[in-house]
Subunit: 505 residues, 2 copies
């Protein structure tokens, strides 16, 4: 491995966006393509890989050990400076983007590519197209410096596109094996969220069990910010998404203050976790923030949440403030125990029974759930009965929680007005900030973090590691001091029993 001290990112092919892209890129996009990225110090010099102690699992180690007999217990790895020069072995590597977009994905690919160019010249990088389906169908493109260049520091996953397919059946594993053999892959980088990294680990186990040489390394991606642990302090995209949403929230807050007559209910992306909502609240200081995890921990009901909002609205009305901004996480109603019960019962009923127009099906609900169902605004009742997701579940993401809350707050305020306890004016405006944040231009942090994740993934594959997730940490320090390594995916796993038995990151 040839040691280098600088990374000539953006100087290939010639330092300027040409051809088709030159005409469609905005000035900002053009400027960002050539934005130089710093690398952690350990990646700028010759390094060696230090193995840690044997690992276990986040929970239920016996069961995880049975599921991953070839990988369980393997150590995590850390990069450390070294005077030794590594072999100049050429590699054939594949990369795939899995699941929803997150700003920075293109930079992970740039990082892998630049690692191979710098440290394993003559290597080949294949990009599988359209997500894991691209692996199974062996649909790929060979990534060259010309191909990658216009996507450097750009948002989106459109370089090779993404998809949500999973490689999980024996037949699908067989297809993946055939692709690995056909392309003679030394390694595969799976860029994805917790689902995709769980899948990456299965793939690593499978390849290892078949004695294939193909290693698999994961990369932590999700704007939701819920893929994190000590070794993986954040998933990429979270920083950019929160900045985009916070700017929009800030604009709406100024709007609210300027007009003085609207309460803006802003639903923010993040179904399983309220991290985006919390981070945006810290950045913008809205009047009210509902955090799903807090609602769940306190076992609040929908009525409790409504009353909390109404209390604040009434207090503000007393000082003539009839406006404000309220942040709500996308998955809020999924965090409310009584709603979870209702949804579970509905899932059960809708899976096994027909829903009659007369409403006889409702008799199958428990008293508590029936009461809640009837308490919900009609539009929400209808949304709960909407089409299911592929797993047959209620599509919580489709429920416009912000509109539901506005209706409930209106009803409660009307009641208090009649009781003489409220004398203000209430007008709700609903917003959903979601897709706008998934494909924005990556922030400097996400751009740099992703580049290091990719560069580090290249280093792990070069060392023959498998079943690890690329881990860049010490992120509060200057980039120079960031640590780089790989965490054993099995060490992050647990068995989840909420809906049947699954193992999961």
């Amino acid at each position: 491995m040839a040691p280098t001290t600088t990374v000539p990112i953006g100087t290939l092919p010639s330092g300027s966006v040409t051809g088709r892209l030159a005409s469609v890129y905005s000035e900002v996009q053009k400027t960002r393509v050539d934005h130089a990225l710093p690398l952690p110090s350990v990646l700028k010099h010759p390094f060696t890989i230090l193995d840690g102690p044997p690992s276990s699992a986040a929970g239920n180690p016996d069961e995880i050990a049975k599921l991953f007999p070839h990988l369980f217990g393997q150590p995590s790895a850390a990069l450390a400076p070294s005077g030794a020069v590594q072999t100049q072995k050429k590699l054939k590597i594949g990369v795939v983007l899995s699941g929803g977009q997150a700003p920075g994905g293109h930079n992970v690919i740039s990082g892998i590519f630049d690692y191979l160019q710098e440290r394993a010249p003559g290597s080949t990088l294949y990009g599988f197209k359209g997500g894991p389906a691209g692996i199974m169908k062996c649909k790929y493109v060979e990534l060259t410096s010309e191909y990658i260049y216009p996507y450097r520091n750009q948002g989106g996953f459109d370089m090779i596109c993404s998809g949500r397919d999973k490689i999980e059946t024996p037949e699908q594993f067989k297809q993946a094996e055939e692709t690995a053999k056909k392309l003679d892959l030394d390694g595969l980088v799976v860029i994805g969220g917790d689902d995709s990294n769980t899948n990456a680990c299965l793939l690593a186990e499978n390849f290892r069990s078949k004695n294939l040489k193909t290693s698999v390394i994961g990369c932590p991606k999700t704007i939701d910010g819920d893929l994190k642990c000590k070794e993986v302090p954040t998933s990429f995209g979270f920083d950019t998404a929160c900045k985009i949403y916070s700017e929009m929230i800030g604009n709406v807050m100024i709007d609210a203050r300027s007009t003085g007559k609207y309460y803006h209910f802003v639903r923010l992306m993040g179904r399983a976790a309220s991290h985006i909502t919390l981070e945006c609240a810290l950045q913008t200081h809205p009047n009210i923030t509902i955090i799903g995890e807090e609602v769940a921990a306190k076992k609040l009901t929908l009525k409790n949440v409504t009353d909390y909002i109404v209390d604040v609205v009434c207090k503000r009305a007393e000082i003539n403030y009839n406006y404000g901004v309220i942040l709500i996480p996308e998955g809020l109603i999924d965090f409310i125990p009584e709603v979870q019960h209702l949804i579970a019962e509905l899932n059960e009923i809708l899976a096994h029974d027909t829903v009659d127009e007369g409403g006889l099906w409702k008799k199958k609900l428990t008293d508590q759930s029936l009461k809640l169902f009837d308490f919900l605004p009609q539009a929400i009742q209808e949304q709960l009965m909407l089409e299911r997701d592929p797993h047959g579940n209620v599509q919580v993401a489709k429920i416009e929680t912000e509109k539901m809350l506005i209706q409930m707050v209106e009803t409660e305020l009307e009641k208090r007005k009649q009781e003489g306890k409220y004398n203000g004016e209430f007008k709700g405006q609903s917003h959903f900030f979601g897709y706008e944040g998934r494909c924005g231009l990556p922030t400097n942090f996400d751009a740099t973090y992703c580049y290091a994740l990719g560069y580090g993934a290249g280093a792990l594959l070069h060392s023959g590691k498998t079943g690890l997730i690329s881990s860049v940490a010490n992120l509060c320090a200057p980039v120079e001091e960031w640590t780089v390594g790989g965490t054993a995916l099995t060490s992050l796993m647990d068995v989840e029993r909420r809906h049947g038995t699954h193992f999961h990151l």
Copy 2:
């Protein structure tokens, strides 16, 4: 008037945001506060005011002349360089923000203030709070350099807030007169859209008819971009709003391309005009753009619009593109003649009759309107029956046209699929980009344009002009070469007969 060649904007009180604002401002906001603004050359040196020829009206001059006997026919004014030095007369000026927010409003106020500081030292600037109601109630704040400073180049109208009240009854004019007398106002600047500038002209006429010394000057504000003519080439806020929306649309386009499975239907602010939609389309090149004015000119039906979208979706499906982005102006359905008829009939029925649950009221609709009403998705039918605005009209802005179109496109595609004419997958995602764009940080253009509008308004008032709208033009040239003047508001007026008889800008 003391000639100056530089404008010390941002150097008062001390060049940095201090106190409370320092802790709540983002880095970008802080940087923008001190952003230096160039002035048109004619405003940097001593100038004189040149009157143009007598003016008429945009239409129906006889009627406009009767409505504005003291102002009709007055010339527009242009600033021109001059060696003469104007009197150092001290002025008392009021300023009011009227209607919806538009980025740059604070800079108009900064421009007026700086003009007074530079050219009429010792003058006083009052900001009326909460829109025209502030004038009527004499609710104001004296604007000092300390007060204004943190709002320079910032979005929102929160410096003095805005409101939608109108000064139109004899009693309200009386209140305005009392305020003008009480504060001994030499002039008033009304920053607003077409409604507000029409109102400003009425106020100017009224003050003049009562022999009050208070002049009134308007400033063209609206993100919708529909307040424009030869002399007023654009309203402020349009540039910023379109840039904000275009960035969001760009993100969604990259998202669409990355995932490959959604059609994003984006409704954009702009009820009476589709200018925002058109400008955003020019900036982003979406797959489909619907322009309301075009729909009206071609007398298209909702079915026509649906078919147009469906045709494109089908053609793209043939080459396996099952995704895209479609821009729709907020006021689309108001531009469709058959919908206008339906809404007019509904307005009439709802104003005079009770709506029975059995649907007997529907018999009062014409056949064509009944057919259209039944063709609409149920949710839209319900929205059409929703609460009225203060004028008793259907609130078109509340109709989620993008969702309506998604449902109609789905239905039509299903039909074509059954006929074997379509074989793709269609998933619609709806968006409304509105409030986020009204209070963003003004672009350099809007910041500079607004500052010149305000500075120019100060000059017009200093010269005793009334009933003019501040006009900064030649905007394609460098700022140095921008022209500055005032256009007679009556010259822009016409009588509108669509809903009864009104006169309007």
